[in-house]
Symmetry: C2
Subunit: 350 residues, 2 copies
DNA sequence: CTGAAAGCGCTTACAG
DNA sequence: CTGAAAGCGCTTACAG
C-alpha cells in the first residue's frame, strides 16, 4: 500500500508549516492569497484529502450524527432513515446508522454504548417507543449530556423537535367513511399497539371519531395485526367473525389494507360497495391497488428536516457551552388522500 | 459537559500504565489475572468506553466498511443495504453509508473522496453499473489500493465476490408462461436498461427463452418503464397498442407488474385468463396482489454475506501485506415462485 | 500573515 | 507480566 499523503507532506512540499496548510484546508481567512494558492495547487496535484479520523480526534468533532432506528423493512422507518440521510448530508453531517434489525434479540444498551464510542456529535433516537428505552437513554445519553433528539419517543427533558400527529388524520379518515354512509366500522391496529404511541394514536383517532358520531366502539370491532399484509388478512377474517355486521375497515397501514383487499377479493366482498376501506402510509403501490386505496401520507421530509436542524443547533450550542432552550415541538399533520376504496359511489372495477 | 473518562483515568485509578489498560480492553493474553480483574472492575464502575476515533487513528483501522449504493426507494438496493448492515455487524464492522439519492445531481467523485477521507477499512460498491463509475473507482480506490469489492458492477481487477444471476430466472419465468400456453409474450423492462447489466440480463433471458421456443422477439414486444407501478401501467398501454395480440407480460419488477394488474382491472382484462403476468422481486406485497403474482426472489442474504466475508478477508490480508488472490465469483440463482397470475387453470377471483 | 509546541486518546514496537 | 516513549494526522491556543 502506497503511503498516504498527509498534511505534513503538503507542508514540506509547499515550504510552509503544518498549520498553514490546515488553515488553507479549513478555509480560514488569515492566509495570504499567494500562500493559499501555492498550497492549494499542491493539494490538488497530489489529490490530498485530509484524514477525517485525525481531524475528528483533534477537533473533538466528528460531523457524525448517530441514528438509532428500527428495521427498515417497514415503510415508516425506511422513509425516515432516507430523509434523515438527505437532511444530515445537507447540513454537513454523515449518518452513523444503528439499525435494530430485531428488537427482541438485540442488546440495545450495548448497541448504544458502542454508538457513543464513535463520538457522534449528536444522536437521533428514531426508535418507536418501548418502556425500557427511556432508562437506556437516560443512562447513556442524557447523563453524559450528549446532544440528543427523539422522533417517536417522548422523554422528559429530551427535545422532540417535531411530531407526526396520528390522531387527526385518523379522525379525518373515519369521518370520511361516516360521510360516505358507513356506520359499523372496524379497525385493524398494528403490532405492540399497546406499547407504542403511534399505534395508540391511530386507534384513539378512530375511537374519537366514532364516539363523536354516536357510533359504538366495542372490543369486537378491534383486531390486532403486525403491520404485514398477511396479518391484515387474518385481522379481516377475525373481524368478520366477531363483528359480522361490519361495513367498513380502517387498516392502520396500507400493507394490512392490502391483506384486507385480498380477503375481500377471495370472498366476493366488493370494496367499496359492500365494504369501505382506508389505510395509512400511502405506499407507492397504494394508488394501484384494486380499488385504489384511501390513505394518509405523512410529511417525512419536514419531520426529518426539523429534527436534523434542531440537533445541528443543539450541537453548535453545546460546543459553545451555552445553555440551550429547546424549541416547542412542531406538530405536523399527515395528508389524507381519498381514493376509490372508500367512496360509495365509485364504480366497480369492471 | 462532564469530562469524559479516558484510558488515562482508568490507568491512574488502577495504578497501572496506560498500555496495561489497553491490553485489558483489547483482551490481550499477556496480563495477570489479578491486574486484569482490578482494571476491569474500574472500567465497569466508571462505565468507561474507549474512544473509537482515537483507537482508529492509532491502530490505523476503523472497523468501518464504506458502502456506496443507490436510493433505497427500490426494493433491491434496500434489501441489499439491510443485509449488508446485518452481515457487517456480524463481522465486527459498522457501515458508513453513502446513499446516492439522485444519481443525476450528485457529484459522485466528490462523494467518494469524502468517503475515503473517513478511512474505511474497505469499500463496498453496490451501485448499479454506469459507464462513468469505472473511471471514478479506478482513480480513487484502485490506485491507492484500498480494499474494494463490487456487487453490481464488473470491473477488471476488482473482486466481485458474488453475482445474482438474472438470466436464468428470467428464462424460467418465460418458459413457465410458455408451458402454460402463452405464446405472444411482451416485456416491460426497467429504467436505463441499456446502461445497466441487470436490466439487460432480464431482457436477455426473455429473448433467449422466446427464441429457444421459436417465438418472435420483435421490438414492438418491448416497452421501457422506470420500475414504478405508474410506468408499468403506461408500459402495458403501450404494449397493447403496438402488440395487440399479446397474451402475457413479463414485467421486470413487481411494482411494474402491479401497474399492469391495475390496467387490466380497469379494462376488464382477466389475469391470468386473458393475460398471463409475471414479475420480479417478490415484494412482501406480491402474494397479496389480485391475483397473487408469480415472481422471482433473489437471495440477498447470501449475496451480501459472501460479499462482506470476502471484503473482510481482503482487509485482513491487506493489513498483513500479503498478496491477495480473489476467489472466483459465486453465482447465486434467484428462486422462481409460481402463483396464480400466470397459471392458466387458476380460478378467477370471484 | 505565519510558525513552534502541545495535545486529542488511543496503540505499537521496544525494553526489561 | 508490565511500563516509558513515540507516534497516528490532524487542530488549537499562543507567540511573534
Amino acid at each position: 500500500m502506497a503511503k498516504k499523503t498527509t498534511l505534513e507532506d503538503i507542508a514540506r512540499e509547499a515550504g510552509v508549516s503544518a498549520q498553514t496548510v490546515s488553515r488553507v484546508i479549513n478555509n480560514r481567512p488569515d492566509v495570504s492569497r499567494a500562500t493559499r494558492q501555492r498550497v492549494q495547487a499542491i493539494i490538488d496535484r497530489l489529490g490530498y484529502q485530509p484524514n477525517a479520523v485525525a481531524r475528528s480526534l483533534s477537533a473533538k468533532r466528528t460531523w457524525m450524527m448517530g441514528v438509532v432506528i428500527g428495521s427498515l423493512d417497514q415503510f415508516g422507518p425506511r422513509s425516515i432513515f432516507l430523509e434523515l440521510d438527505k437532511q444530515a448530508f445537507a447540513a454537513g453531517y454523515r449518518l452513523l446508522p444503528y439499525i435494530i434489525h430485531d428488537e427482541d434479540t438485540i442488546d440495545i444498551a450495548g448497541y448504544f454504548r458502542e454508538l457513543r464510542a464513535h463520538q457522534p456529535d449528536g444522536i437521533i433516537w428514531a426508535v418507536i417507543e418501548r418502556e425500557r428505552h427511556e432508562e437506556i437513554l437516560r443512562q447513556f445519553v442524557i447523563e453524559p449530556s450528549i446532544p440528543l433528539v427523539t422522533m417517536e419517543t417522548a422523554i422528559p427533558g429530551v427535545p422532540k423537535p417535531a411530531v407526526l400527529d396520528q390522531v387527526t388524520p385518523s379522525i379525518t379518515l373515519v369521518n370520511h367513511l361516516i360521510e360516505q354512509g358507513y356506520r359499523r366500522i372496524g379497525i385493524i391496529v398494528g403490532l405492540h399497539s399497546a406499547a407504542t404511541k403511534r399505534g395508540n394514536q391511530r386507534l384513539e383517532g378512530w375511537r374519537q371519531a366514532m364516539q363523536a358520531a354516536g357510533l359504538p366502539t366495542e372490543a369486537r370491532q378491534i383486531a390486532e395485526g403486525d403491520w404485514s399484509a398477511a396479518s391484515g388478512e387474518r385481522g379481516m377474517a377475525q373481524l368478520l367473525a366477531q363483528f359480522p355486521e361490519m361495513d367498513a375497515v380502517y387498516a392502520c397501514n396500507d400493507q394490512m389494507a392490502l391483506g384486507v383487499l385480498n380477503y375481500a377479493h377471495r370472498h366476493g366482498i366488493h370494496v367499496p360497495g359492500d365494504m369501505g376501506l382506508v389505510g395509512f402510509d400511502d405506499l407507492p403501490e397504494a394508488p394501484f391497488f384494486d380499488p385504489p386505496l384511501t390513505t394518509a401520507r405523512q410529511p417525512f421530509d419536514e419531520f426529518c428536516a426539523i429534527t436534523v436542524q434542531t440537533l445541528a443547533t443543539m450541537i453548535d450550542v453545546n460546543l459553545v457551552g451555552e445553555a440551550y432552550t429547546p424549541p416547542a415541538t412542531t406538530i405536523l399533520y399527515p395528508e389524507v388522500l381519498i381514493r376509490a376504496s372508500s367512496v360509495r359511489g365509485a364504480s366497480p372495477a369492471q
